[in-house]
Protein backbone atom coordinates (compact mmCIF):
# COMPACT_ATOMS: atom_id res chain seq x y z
CA UNK A 1 0.00 0.00 0.00
CA UNK A 2 2.88 2.37 0.77
CA UNK A 3 4.65 1.53 -2.48
CA UNK A 4 1.40 2.10 -4.33
CA UNK A 5 0.96 5.51 -2.71
CA UNK A 6 4.58 6.53 -3.35
CA UNK A 7 4.26 5.45 -6.95
CA UNK A 8 1.14 7.60 -7.46
CA UNK A 9 2.85 10.57 -5.77
CA UNK A 10 5.76 10.07 -8.15
CA UNK A 11 3.36 10.37 -11.09
CA UNK A 12 1.96 13.57 -9.60
CA UNK A 13 5.49 15.01 -9.21
CA UNK A 14 6.22 14.14 -12.83
CA UNK A 15 3.11 16.08 -13.84
CA UNK A 16 4.15 19.10 -11.75
CA UNK A 17 7.64 19.00 -13.29
CA UNK A 18 6.23 18.79 -16.81
CA UNK A 19 3.79 21.65 -16.15
CA UNK A 20 6.57 23.75 -14.68
CA UNK A 21 8.90 23.12 -17.64
CA UNK A 22 6.12 23.64 -20.20
CA UNK A 23 4.98 26.77 -18.40
CA UNK A 24 1.71 27.04 -20.37
CA UNK A 25 -1.50 26.44 -18.33
CA UNK A 26 -3.47 26.29 -21.62
CA UNK A 27 -1.63 23.09 -22.58
CA UNK A 28 -0.84 21.51 -19.20
CA UNK A 29 -2.06 23.23 -16.03
CA UNK A 30 -0.63 22.57 -12.57
CA UNK A 31 -2.58 19.87 -10.63
CA UNK A 32 -3.69 22.53 -8.10
CA UNK A 33 -5.35 24.56 -10.84
CA UNK A 34 -7.90 21.73 -11.36
CA UNK A 35 -9.26 21.87 -7.82
CA UNK A 36 -11.65 24.79 -7.93
CA UNK A 37 -13.18 23.95 -11.36
CA UNK A 38 -13.48 20.35 -10.09
CA UNK A 39 -15.50 21.52 -7.06
CA UNK A 40 -17.66 23.66 -9.34
CA UNK A 41 -18.46 20.66 -11.61
CA UNK A 42 -19.11 18.47 -8.57
CA UNK A 43 -21.35 21.01 -6.82
CA UNK A 44 -23.41 21.74 -9.94
CA UNK A 45 -24.13 18.00 -10.29
CA UNK A 46 -22.81 17.90 -13.86
CA UNK A 47 -19.84 15.70 -13.05
CA UNK A 48 -21.80 13.16 -10.95
CA UNK A 49 -24.48 12.92 -13.68
CA UNK A 50 -22.06 12.18 -16.51
CA UNK A 51 -19.97 9.91 -14.30
CA UNK A 52 -23.06 7.88 -13.41
CA UNK A 53 -24.13 7.61 -17.07
CA UNK A 54 -20.72 6.26 -18.06
CA UNK A 55 -20.57 3.89 -15.08
CA UNK A 56 -23.95 2.38 -15.92
CA UNK A 57 -22.82 1.77 -19.50
CA UNK A 58 -19.55 0.25 -18.31
CA UNK A 59 -21.41 -2.06 -15.92
CA UNK A 60 -23.83 -3.25 -18.59
CA UNK A 61 -21.13 -3.88 -21.16
CA UNK A 62 -18.93 -5.55 -18.57
CA UNK A 63 -21.66 -7.90 -17.32
CA UNK A 64 -22.77 -8.85 -20.83
CA UNK A 65 -19.26 -9.31 -22.19
CA UNK A 66 -18.16 -11.42 -19.22
CA UNK A 67 -21.27 -13.62 -19.33
CA UNK A 68 -21.04 -14.21 -23.06
CA UNK A 69 -17.25 -14.47 -23.12
CA UNK A 70 -17.00 -16.96 -20.24
CA UNK A 71 -19.74 -19.16 -21.74
CA UNK A 72 -18.22 -19.06 -25.21
CA UNK A 73 -14.68 -19.61 -23.93
CA UNK A 74 -15.80 -22.57 -21.82
CA UNK A 75 -17.67 -24.19 -24.72
CA UNK A 76 -14.81 -23.60 -27.16
CA UNK A 77 -12.23 -24.89 -24.70
CA UNK A 78 -14.20 -28.03 -23.88
CA UNK A 79 -15.42 -28.95 -27.37
CA UNK A 80 -12.66 -28.90 -30.02
CA UNK A 81 -15.23 -29.25 -32.84
CA UNK A 82 -17.02 -26.06 -31.82
CA UNK A 83 -13.63 -24.42 -31.42
CA UNK A 84 -12.61 -25.37 -34.96
CA UNK A 85 -15.73 -23.64 -36.31
CA UNK A 86 -15.71 -20.55 -34.13
CA UNK A 87 -11.97 -19.87 -33.95
CA UNK A 88 -11.81 -18.02 -37.32
CA UNK A 89 -14.68 -15.79 -36.16
CA UNK A 90 -12.77 -15.04 -33.01
CA UNK A 91 -9.72 -13.99 -35.00
CA UNK A 92 -11.87 -11.73 -37.19
CA UNK A 93 -13.50 -10.04 -34.19
CA UNK A 94 -10.20 -9.80 -32.27
CA UNK A 95 -8.73 -7.86 -35.16
CA UNK A 96 -11.74 -5.67 -35.88
CA UNK A 97 -10.91 -2.13 -34.69
CA UNK A 98 -13.15 -0.90 -31.87
CA UNK A 99 -13.96 2.16 -33.94
CA UNK A 100 -15.38 0.08 -36.81
CA UNK A 101 -17.70 -1.83 -34.48
CA UNK A 102 -18.89 1.38 -32.82
CA UNK A 103 -19.59 3.13 -36.13
CA UNK A 104 -21.36 0.08 -37.57
CA UNK A 105 -23.52 -0.38 -34.46
CA UNK A 106 -24.53 3.30 -34.56
CA UNK A 107 -25.32 3.02 -38.27
CA UNK A 108 -27.30 -0.21 -37.96
CA UNK A 109 -28.98 0.14 -34.57
CA UNK A 110 -29.19 3.93 -34.27
CA UNK A 111 -27.65 6.56 -32.01
CA UNK A 112 -28.95 5.05 -28.76
CA UNK A 113 -27.93 3.20 -25.58
CA UNK A 114 -28.51 -0.24 -27.10
CA UNK A 115 -26.09 0.47 -29.93
CA UNK A 116 -23.44 1.75 -27.53
CA UNK A 117 -23.68 -1.18 -25.12
CA UNK A 118 -23.82 -3.66 -28.01
CA UNK A 119 -20.73 -2.14 -29.64
CA UNK A 120 -18.70 -2.17 -26.42
CA UNK A 121 -19.83 -5.69 -25.52
CA UNK A 122 -18.93 -7.04 -28.97
CA UNK A 123 -15.54 -5.39 -28.67
CA UNK A 124 -14.78 -7.15 -25.40
CA UNK A 125 -16.28 -10.63 -25.93
CA UNK A 126 -13.43 -12.03 -28.12
CA UNK A 127 -10.90 -11.01 -25.53
CA UNK A 128 -12.69 -12.69 -22.63
CA UNK A 129 -13.36 -15.76 -24.79
CA UNK A 130 -9.69 -16.16 -25.69
CA UNK A 131 -8.51 -15.97 -22.09
CA UNK A 132 -11.22 -18.28 -20.69
CA UNK A 133 -10.69 -20.78 -23.52
CA UNK A 134 -7.09 -21.21 -22.39
CA UNK A 135 -8.41 -21.93 -18.90
CA UNK A 136 -10.92 -24.48 -20.17
CA UNK A 137 -8.18 -26.25 -22.14
CA UNK A 138 -6.05 -26.49 -19.01
CA UNK A 139 -8.77 -28.20 -16.89
CA UNK A 140 -7.37 -31.13 -14.90
CA UNK A 141 -8.38 -34.43 -16.60
CA UNK A 142 -7.81 -36.40 -13.38
CA UNK A 143 -10.37 -34.33 -11.47
CA UNK A 144 -12.80 -34.84 -14.33
CA UNK A 145 -12.28 -38.61 -14.15
CA UNK A 146 -12.76 -38.50 -10.37
CA UNK A 147 -16.01 -36.55 -10.72
CA UNK A 148 -17.19 -38.99 -13.38
CA UNK A 149 -16.55 -42.16 -11.35
CA UNK A 150 -18.20 -40.71 -8.22
CA UNK A 151 -21.11 -39.47 -10.38
CA UNK A 152 -20.80 -35.94 -9.09
CA UNK A 153 -23.91 -33.92 -10.09
CA UNK A 154 -23.26 -31.75 -13.14
CA UNK A 155 -24.03 -28.46 -11.37
CA UNK A 156 -21.70 -29.35 -8.48
CA UNK A 157 -18.99 -30.28 -10.95
CA UNK A 158 -19.28 -26.95 -12.76
CA UNK A 159 -19.36 -24.89 -9.61
CA UNK A 160 -16.81 -26.65 -7.43
CA UNK A 161 -14.46 -28.32 -9.91
CA UNK A 162 -14.54 -26.29 -13.13
CA UNK A 163 -15.10 -22.73 -11.89
CA UNK A 164 -12.29 -22.73 -9.28
CA UNK A 165 -9.89 -23.84 -12.02
CA UNK A 166 -11.18 -21.09 -14.32
CA UNK A 167 -11.17 -18.40 -11.61
CA UNK A 168 -7.65 -17.06 -12.30
CA UNK A 169 -8.50 -16.80 -16.00
CA UNK A 170 -11.86 -15.14 -15.34
CA UNK A 171 -10.16 -12.72 -12.93
CA UNK A 172 -7.53 -11.85 -15.55
CA UNK A 173 -10.27 -11.33 -18.15
CA UNK A 174 -12.30 -9.20 -15.72
CA UNK A 175 -9.42 -6.93 -14.77
CA UNK A 176 -8.18 -6.33 -18.28
CA UNK A 177 -11.86 -6.18 -19.26
CA UNK A 178 -12.85 -3.26 -17.05
CA UNK A 179 -9.88 -1.22 -18.22
CA UNK A 180 -10.56 -1.82 -21.90
CA UNK A 181 -14.33 -1.43 -21.63
CA UNK A 182 -14.33 1.99 -20.01
CA UNK A 183 -11.96 3.30 -22.67
CA UNK A 184 -14.18 2.00 -25.45
CA UNK A 185 -17.28 3.37 -23.71
CA UNK A 186 -15.63 6.81 -23.73
CA UNK A 187 -14.91 6.58 -27.46
CA UNK A 188 -18.47 5.47 -28.14
CA UNK A 189 -19.81 8.38 -26.06
CA UNK A 190 -17.46 10.75 -27.83
CA UNK A 191 -18.84 9.63 -31.19
CA UNK A 192 -22.53 9.33 -30.66
CA UNK A 193 -24.07 10.10 -27.25
CA UNK A 194 -25.10 13.29 -25.49
CA UNK A 195 -24.13 12.25 -21.97
CA UNK A 196 -21.25 10.58 -20.16
CA UNK A 197 -17.58 11.34 -19.58
CA UNK A 198 -16.77 10.78 -23.26
CA UNK A 199 -19.40 13.34 -24.30
CA UNK A 200 -18.03 15.91 -21.83
CA UNK A 201 -14.49 15.34 -23.09
CA UNK A 202 -15.75 15.84 -26.64
CA UNK A 203 -17.40 19.10 -25.56
CA UNK A 204 -14.30 20.51 -23.86
CA UNK A 205 -12.09 19.25 -26.66
CA UNK A 206 -14.05 21.49 -29.05
CA UNK A 207 -13.63 24.38 -26.59
CA UNK A 208 -9.91 23.53 -26.27
CA UNK A 209 -10.35 23.40 -22.48
CA UNK A 210 -7.55 21.16 -21.16
CA UNK A 211 -8.53 21.76 -17.53
CA UNK A 212 -11.99 20.25 -17.94
CA UNK A 213 -10.78 17.41 -20.15
CA UNK A 214 -8.36 16.48 -17.34
CA UNK A 215 -11.00 16.86 -14.62
CA UNK A 216 -13.39 14.48 -16.35
CA UNK A 217 -10.81 11.86 -17.26
CA UNK A 218 -9.11 11.91 -13.86
CA UNK A 219 -12.42 11.59 -12.00
CA UNK A 220 -13.23 8.50 -13.94
CA UNK A 221 -9.77 7.02 -13.45
CA UNK A 222 -10.21 7.60 -9.71
CA UNK A 223 -13.54 5.74 -9.74
CA UNK A 224 -12.02 2.82 -11.65
CA UNK A 225 -9.07 2.63 -9.25
CA UNK A 226 -11.58 2.48 -6.42
CA UNK A 227 -13.43 -0.38 -8.15
CA UNK A 228 -10.15 -2.21 -8.68
CA UNK A 229 -9.04 -1.84 -5.06
CA UNK A 230 -12.33 -2.30 -3.25
CA UNK A 231 -13.98 -4.94 -5.44
CA UNK A 232 -11.78 -6.75 -7.96
CA UNK A 233 -8.69 -7.25 -5.83
CA UNK A 234 -10.53 -8.39 -2.66
CA UNK A 235 -12.55 -10.84 -4.77
CA UNK A 236 -9.38 -12.21 -6.30
CA UNK A 237 -7.83 -12.57 -2.86
CA UNK A 238 -10.88 -14.49 -1.68
CA UNK A 239 -10.81 -17.02 -4.54
CA UNK A 240 -7.05 -17.43 -4.09
CA UNK A 241 -7.38 -18.04 -0.36
CA UNK A 242 -6.76 -21.80 -0.63
CA UNK A 243 -3.37 -21.21 -2.29
CA UNK A 244 -1.96 -19.24 0.59
CA UNK A 245 -3.70 -21.04 3.48
Amino acid sequence: MNVRLASLIGLLLLWIAAAWIGNDPEVLPMPGALLSPFWAELASGTLPYHLAMTLIRVLWAFALAMAAGVTLGLVMGLFPRVDAWLDPWLVVFLNLPALVLIVLCYLWVGLNETALILAVTLNKIPNVTTIVREGARALDPDLKAMAQVYRMPRATYLRHVVMPQLAPFVAAAARSGVAVIWKIVLVAEFLGRSSGIGFQIHLYFQLFDVVHVLIYSLSFIAVMLLVEWTMLQPWERRVRRWRTA
Binding site: L143, Y150, T156, R243, A245
Partner: protein, 213 residues
Protein backbone atom coordinates in the same frame (compact mmCIF):
# COMPACT_ATOMS: atom_id res chain seq x y z
CA UNK B 1 -28.22 -62.55 -24.63
CA UNK B 2 -27.71 -65.01 -27.53
CA UNK B 3 -24.83 -62.96 -28.79
CA UNK B 4 -23.22 -62.96 -25.41
CA UNK B 5 -23.62 -66.71 -25.13
CA UNK B 6 -21.81 -67.35 -28.38
CA UNK B 7 -18.97 -65.23 -27.07
CA UNK B 8 -18.74 -67.53 -24.08
CA UNK B 9 -19.99 -65.24 -21.33
CA UNK B 10 -20.75 -67.28 -18.22
CA UNK B 11 -24.19 -65.63 -18.07
CA UNK B 12 -25.81 -67.26 -15.02
CA UNK B 13 -22.84 -66.78 -12.71
CA UNK B 14 -22.71 -63.08 -13.52
CA UNK B 15 -26.15 -62.36 -12.12
CA UNK B 16 -24.91 -62.23 -8.52
CA UNK B 17 -21.91 -60.11 -9.30
CA UNK B 18 -21.40 -56.47 -8.48
CA UNK B 19 -19.53 -55.88 -11.72
CA UNK B 20 -19.08 -57.91 -14.87
CA UNK B 21 -16.47 -57.00 -17.43
CA UNK B 22 -16.45 -58.19 -21.02
CA UNK B 23 -14.01 -56.27 -23.18
CA UNK B 24 -13.82 -57.73 -26.67
CA UNK B 25 -11.51 -55.16 -28.16
CA UNK B 26 -9.94 -51.86 -27.18
CA UNK B 27 -7.68 -49.93 -29.48
CA UNK B 28 -6.21 -46.45 -29.77
CA UNK B 29 -6.20 -45.64 -33.48
CA UNK B 30 -4.33 -48.52 -35.15
CA UNK B 31 -2.80 -49.89 -32.00
CA UNK B 32 -4.83 -52.77 -30.58
CA UNK B 33 -4.30 -52.69 -26.82
CA UNK B 34 -6.71 -55.13 -25.15
CA UNK B 35 -8.66 -58.16 -26.34
CA UNK B 36 -11.09 -60.69 -24.85
CA UNK B 37 -10.96 -59.78 -21.21
CA UNK B 38 -13.81 -61.31 -19.28
CA UNK B 39 -14.29 -61.51 -15.55
CA UNK B 40 -16.70 -60.64 -12.75
CA UNK B 41 -16.27 -59.62 -9.14
CA UNK B 42 -18.62 -60.51 -6.30
CA UNK B 43 -19.52 -58.43 -3.28
CA UNK B 44 -16.72 -58.50 -0.72
CA UNK B 45 -14.24 -59.96 -3.17
CA UNK B 46 -10.93 -58.27 -3.94
CA UNK B 47 -9.40 -58.90 -7.33
CA UNK B 48 -5.92 -57.73 -8.28
CA UNK B 49 -4.98 -57.01 -11.87
CA UNK B 50 -1.28 -57.48 -12.44
CA UNK B 51 1.06 -57.17 -15.36
CA UNK B 52 4.18 -55.36 -16.48
CA UNK B 53 3.95 -51.60 -16.87
CA UNK B 54 2.70 -50.41 -20.22
CA UNK B 55 0.65 -53.57 -20.78
CA UNK B 56 -2.69 -51.73 -20.52
CA UNK B 57 -3.68 -52.10 -16.87
CA UNK B 58 -4.63 -48.47 -16.51
CA UNK B 59 -6.46 -48.56 -19.85
CA UNK B 60 -8.51 -51.51 -18.58
CA UNK B 61 -9.18 -49.72 -15.31
CA UNK B 62 -10.43 -46.63 -17.14
CA UNK B 63 -12.85 -48.84 -19.09
CA UNK B 64 -14.03 -50.52 -15.89
CA UNK B 65 -14.52 -47.16 -14.14
CA UNK B 66 -16.44 -45.76 -17.09
CA UNK B 67 -13.96 -42.93 -17.65
CA UNK B 68 -13.25 -44.25 -21.15
CA UNK B 69 -16.33 -45.55 -22.98
CA UNK B 70 -14.85 -46.14 -26.46
CA UNK B 71 -14.42 -49.91 -26.71
CA UNK B 72 -16.11 -53.04 -28.05
CA UNK B 73 -17.81 -55.13 -25.41
CA UNK B 74 -19.98 -54.62 -22.37
CA UNK B 75 -19.29 -53.67 -18.78
CA UNK B 76 -22.06 -53.76 -16.20
CA UNK B 77 -21.24 -51.71 -13.16
CA UNK B 78 -23.13 -50.54 -10.05
CA UNK B 79 -24.13 -46.89 -9.42
CA UNK B 80 -22.17 -46.49 -6.21
CA UNK B 81 -18.55 -46.56 -7.27
CA UNK B 82 -15.43 -45.17 -5.68
CA UNK B 83 -11.92 -44.77 -7.02
CA UNK B 84 -8.50 -44.11 -5.53
CA UNK B 85 -5.93 -42.87 -8.02
CA UNK B 86 -2.13 -42.92 -7.89
CA UNK B 87 -2.31 -39.27 -6.86
CA UNK B 88 -4.78 -38.05 -4.19
CA UNK B 89 -6.79 -36.10 -6.85
CA UNK B 90 -8.47 -33.74 -4.38
CA UNK B 91 -10.13 -30.36 -4.83
CA UNK B 92 -7.40 -28.09 -3.41
CA UNK B 93 -9.76 -25.08 -3.34
CA UNK B 94 -12.31 -26.74 -1.05
CA UNK B 95 -11.88 -27.77 2.58
CA UNK B 96 -11.10 -31.31 3.63
CA UNK B 97 -14.69 -32.01 4.70
CA UNK B 98 -16.11 -30.38 1.55
CA UNK B 99 -13.93 -32.73 -0.46
CA UNK B 100 -16.18 -35.47 0.89
CA UNK B 101 -19.58 -33.74 1.00
CA UNK B 102 -19.30 -32.30 -2.54
CA UNK B 103 -18.51 -35.70 -3.99
CA UNK B 104 -21.21 -37.38 -1.90
CA UNK B 105 -24.10 -34.87 -1.67
CA UNK B 106 -26.12 -37.38 0.39
CA UNK B 107 -23.64 -37.08 3.28
CA UNK B 108 -23.86 -34.30 5.85
CA UNK B 109 -20.96 -32.69 7.71
CA UNK B 110 -21.16 -35.18 10.57
CA UNK B 111 -20.92 -38.22 8.33
CA UNK B 112 -17.99 -36.57 6.55
CA UNK B 113 -16.37 -36.00 9.93
CA UNK B 114 -16.94 -39.65 10.85
CA UNK B 115 -15.32 -40.76 7.59
CA UNK B 116 -12.32 -38.55 8.36
CA UNK B 117 -12.08 -39.99 11.90
CA UNK B 118 -11.92 -43.47 10.36
CA UNK B 119 -8.70 -42.61 8.54
CA UNK B 120 -7.29 -40.62 11.46
CA UNK B 121 -7.64 -37.05 10.19
CA UNK B 122 -10.86 -36.05 11.97
CA UNK B 123 -9.23 -32.89 13.33
CA UNK B 124 -8.33 -31.62 9.83
CA UNK B 125 -11.91 -31.15 8.54
CA UNK B 126 -11.69 -27.37 8.11
CA UNK B 127 -8.22 -27.18 6.56
CA UNK B 128 -7.50 -27.05 2.84
CA UNK B 129 -5.86 -30.15 1.28
CA UNK B 130 -2.68 -28.12 0.63
CA UNK B 131 -2.25 -27.82 4.40
CA UNK B 132 -2.12 -31.60 4.82
CA UNK B 133 0.97 -33.77 4.50
CA UNK B 134 1.11 -36.14 1.54
CA UNK B 135 0.19 -39.06 3.77
CA UNK B 136 -2.83 -37.17 5.11
CA UNK B 137 -3.91 -36.29 1.57
CA UNK B 138 -3.84 -40.01 0.73
CA UNK B 139 -5.92 -40.71 3.81
CA UNK B 140 -8.45 -38.12 2.67
CA UNK B 141 -8.56 -39.79 -0.71
CA UNK B 142 -9.34 -43.11 1.04
CA UNK B 143 -11.94 -41.47 3.31
CA UNK B 144 -13.64 -40.05 0.22
CA UNK B 145 -13.69 -43.50 -1.37
CA UNK B 146 -15.26 -45.29 1.60
CA UNK B 147 -17.49 -42.49 2.92
CA UNK B 148 -20.57 -43.47 0.91
CA UNK B 149 -20.14 -47.26 1.25
CA UNK B 150 -19.41 -48.02 -2.42
CA UNK B 151 -20.53 -51.25 -4.06
CA UNK B 152 -17.44 -51.17 -6.23
CA UNK B 153 -14.04 -49.82 -5.23
CA UNK B 154 -11.36 -49.26 -7.85
CA UNK B 155 -7.74 -48.79 -6.81
CA UNK B 156 -5.22 -47.64 -9.42
CA UNK B 157 -1.75 -48.42 -8.02
CA UNK B 158 -2.57 -46.33 -4.95
CA UNK B 159 0.75 -47.05 -3.21
CA UNK B 160 3.10 -46.82 -6.16
CA UNK B 161 4.71 -43.45 -5.55
CA UNK B 162 5.04 -43.75 -1.76
CA UNK B 163 8.11 -44.45 0.32
CA UNK B 164 8.07 -47.96 1.89
CA UNK B 165 7.00 -46.78 5.35
CA UNK B 166 4.06 -44.73 4.10
CA UNK B 167 3.11 -47.45 1.60
CA UNK B 168 2.92 -49.99 4.44
CA UNK B 169 0.82 -47.61 6.54
CA UNK B 170 -1.62 -46.98 3.69
CA UNK B 171 -1.78 -50.66 2.78
CA UNK B 172 -2.73 -51.59 6.35
CA UNK B 173 -5.38 -48.87 6.46
CA UNK B 174 -6.82 -49.88 3.10
CA UNK B 175 -6.89 -53.55 4.17
CA UNK B 176 -8.83 -52.65 7.33
CA UNK B 177 -11.33 -50.46 5.46
CA UNK B 178 -11.96 -53.11 2.81
CA UNK B 179 -12.54 -55.69 5.55
CA UNK B 180 -15.02 -53.40 7.27
CA UNK B 181 -17.05 -52.18 4.26
CA UNK B 182 -16.61 -55.25 2.01
CA UNK B 183 -17.10 -53.66 -1.41
CA UNK B 184 -16.21 -55.52 -4.58
CA UNK B 185 -12.67 -54.29 -5.12
CA UNK B 186 -10.62 -54.12 -8.29
CA UNK B 187 -7.02 -53.32 -7.64
CA UNK B 188 -4.32 -52.58 -10.19
CA UNK B 189 -0.71 -53.13 -9.20
CA UNK B 190 2.61 -54.35 -10.53
CA UNK B 191 3.77 -55.40 -7.06
CA UNK B 192 3.37 -59.15 -6.39
CA UNK B 193 3.46 -58.81 -2.58
CA UNK B 194 0.80 -56.11 -2.57
CA UNK B 195 -1.40 -58.20 -4.84
CA UNK B 196 -1.01 -61.33 -2.70
CA UNK B 197 -1.69 -59.48 0.53
CA UNK B 198 -4.76 -57.50 -0.47
CA UNK B 199 -6.58 -59.72 -2.92
CA UNK B 200 -8.55 -62.97 -2.99
CA UNK B 201 -7.82 -63.53 -6.67
CA UNK B 202 -5.12 -62.32 -9.03
CA UNK B 203 -5.67 -61.73 -12.73
CA UNK B 204 -2.58 -61.29 -14.86
CA UNK B 205 -2.49 -59.34 -18.10
CA UNK B 206 -0.05 -60.43 -20.79
CA UNK B 207 0.55 -60.65 -24.51
CA UNK B 208 -0.01 -58.13 -27.27
CA UNK B 209 -2.79 -57.13 -27.48
CA UNK B 210 -3.07 -57.87 -23.80
CA UNK B 211 -5.53 -60.39 -22.42
CA UNK B 212 -5.88 -62.45 -19.22
CA UNK B 213 -3.20 -65.16 -19.00
Amino acid sequence: MDDAATLGTPGAALENCVISVDVIRKSFGDSHVLRDIRFAVEKGETVAIRGPSGIGKTTLLRLIAGIDTAFEGEIRRPDAMAIVFQEPTLLPWRTVSQNITLVHPELDRDSARAALEKVGIGDKADLFPGQLSLGQQRRLSLARAFAARPDLLILDEPFVSLDPLLAEEMLTLTEALIREYRPATIFVTHDADEAARLSDRILTLGGAPATLV
